[in-house]
Symmetry: C2
Subunit: 217 residues, 2 copies
């Protein structure tokens, strides 16, 4: 049984992990009999957004690990406990939380800094030659951490984001929502999901391909 880590960063498209992308990742992993290990940083979210209005809840202070446990149904470990030696693959679902909590791409763009634990696990999985999947906006993490290896990846077709990923050394490949880009040398799979949308059954096609690739790599 393959053990696949899934890294979450909250529970909701605007301030955490995108729920549909995360849930579909689990669904397709479970269909292929993966053993899923859940991780999230034990740190506060950047902010909390009322998803019905889009407004920031100034008085709310939520924790990534606690909120991510809503998606994992309880079981989840601090990302600092993730070890490449015990995993067969790692997947980062998307959501704005990736660009606000796991790094500061949403605010700093090309000067983006990646959370130290996120950087550590991505580097160690890469060094161990194990496959990693990045969904939606999460390829930003792969490009920032592994840019020196020039991985092929996709965030769909947004030219300004693609331009920044290329500044860091990645090769961006324009894609449709039902496609993945897989760099077999760097073992990096990516799919655009809600970077393109439009709806859950459409993003599921790319996510299923990505999960299958990670399980087969």
């Amino acid at each position: 049984m393959k053990k696949i880590g899934v890294v979450l960063c909250g529970c909701g498209a605007q301030d955490g992990s995108e729920i549909h992308e995360a849930t579909l990742t689990l669904y397709f992993l479970d269909k292929l009999d993966a053993h899923i290990e859940y991780f999230a940083p034990r740190k506060p979210q950047w902010h909390t957004i009322d998803h019905s209005t889009g407004k920031v809840h100034e008085e709310e202070h939520r924790q990534m690990l606690e909120e991510s446990a809503r998606i994992s149904r309880g079981e989840i470990k601090d990302l600092s406990q993730a070890e490449a030696s015990t995993l067969d693959g790692l997947i980062f679902p998307g959501g704005f939380g990736v660009a606000k909590n796991l790094c500061n791409f949403a605010f700093e763009k090309e000067n983006c800094q990646v959370d130290k634990e996120v950087e550590r696990i991505i580097l160690s999985m890469h060094k161990a030659g194990k496959p990693q999947g990045f969904i939606c906006i999460a390829p930003v993490l792969a490009a920032r951490v592994l840019g020196m290896f020039h991985p092929n990846l996709t965030i769909g077709n947004d030219p300004s984001t693609a331009h920044i990923l290329e500044q860091w050394g990645a090769k961006h490949i324009t894609s449709r929502v039902d496609e993945i880009v897989y760099d077999s040398q760097q073992k990096i799979a990516s799919t655009a999901a809600y970077m393109l949308g439009p709806t859950i059954s459409k993003i599921a096609i790319g996510i299923e391909k990505l999960v299958t690739q990670i399980m087969e790599a």
Copy 2:
């Protein structure tokens, strides 16, 4: 295009709507080209639970509609705006929130009271002869509101819960997680989902059948 309402009550298995059940419902509805309308009561949740520990957050006060918007990705209406005349079907995903927020079954058992807006829309959908789907613990709502019509339904195989549903007039049918019970006269479909589990790809089988039944009814 069929217009199907989905009623949510928060975002998380322990204090709101079960995220996997809700997301899979949307996935299968979207696959069948349904137009989905999201509803939740504009009311506070009973409580907020830290899903990583199972402990109640005494200081947290979350709203059902706001938290449900995390699952719907923004668009959602107050349940008081749901009208049977504009819908072709209605689905209630499960989660403990159903038994804490949409009714008080979790605390009052056989003396359970159902939220007035929930009761209104279930009765009006039934009167209009339109199909309704109830997932996991949500058949409690159908049994409590429509017990006088003696609907066939399932919550899996839990004898104490089944006994209460039968006290209210429903006929409980023991089922597996990959099955649904459909009462074609009352147009009530139900499936056990995480009342049985064990994992997301298993509950998906019953949920897909339920969604297909609601779309075909």
